[in-house]
Amino acid sequence: MLKVREIVKILDAEVLTGEDQMDMEIYSGCGADLMSDVMAFVKESVILCTGLVNPQVVRTAEMMDIKVLCFVRGKVPGEVILDLAREKGITILTTKHPLFITCGMLYSAGIQGRGVWN
């Protein structure tokens, strides 16, 4: 388990929305650019790391009850995406690391990819 503030530190990430959610606990993670792949496995207390930047990433997170998104490779979403995330109560981070490295860093720090329904 990691708190969001620990994740921010590990990934040297910038917090774009959800600054008040830094104590949220994250147990599981997934890394994908295909949203249907994200939706194939339900997990609890998840961080989704992705290089895909569009509003459907936030929508997918909403459907899956994913509360933290981390955009990789230094991608910074526009205001439309950030506003949608604020409306849905989703925390958005951005890190300069690529997807593979981001996932590796989180995995090494104790976040696993275990699903709950499968």
């Binding site: 650019d33 949203m35 792949d37 339900v42 895909l52 569009n54 909403e62 459907m63």
Partner: protein, 143 residues
């Protein structure tokens, strides 16, 4: 609004003009089900399955409509479109099979997981499709 013997019916139009708006119907249904006190697991199953169907209606069929019926026993979601229809249902049900264009994949969809995901999260799923006429997907999740 609360879960009673009376059937709750909801209707949403799904338009394809703005891809970024796709998922608004699923979002509204998710909110309604939560408000009705449906269990979070059931809400999530309905939301994911409906969202996949809604995305399909946008990317394959220029939109369509969503009709939802909520009873104390089950949630039924019917997504209908007037798109091209599904020529090979057996292939479409295989994880990874997709006819989506490269531009759809760039948006994060078209991985060939839509119909398999809908089946995975529902108790019953029916697909009625006719080439050149359209497709109706019925998703049932028991409470």
């Amino acid at each position: 609004m609360e879960l009673s013997e009376e059937i709750i019916r909801l209707h949403y139009d799904i338009n394809d003009e703005d891809f970024s708006a796709a998922g608004e119907a699923s979002s509204a249904v998710k909110k309604t089900l939560s408000r009705l006190g449906v269990s979070p697991e059931t809400v999530k199953r309905v939301a994911i399955a409906m969202y996949e169907a809604e995305i399909n209606a946008v990317i394959h069929a220029d939109g369509g409509a969503a009709d939802i019926e909520i009873t104390p026993q089950q949630i039924k979601v019917v997504i209908s479109d007037r798109g091209p229809g599904i020529p090979n249902m057996e292939a479409a049900m295989q994880p990874g099979f997709s006819t989506a264009t490269e531009s759809v994949r760039e948006l994060g969809f078209g991985a060939g997981m839509g119909l398999p995901n809908m089946k995975r999260y529902t108790d019953e799923m029916y697909v009625d499709t006719k080439i050149g006429v359209g497709t109706t997907v019925t998703l049932i999740v028991k409470i």
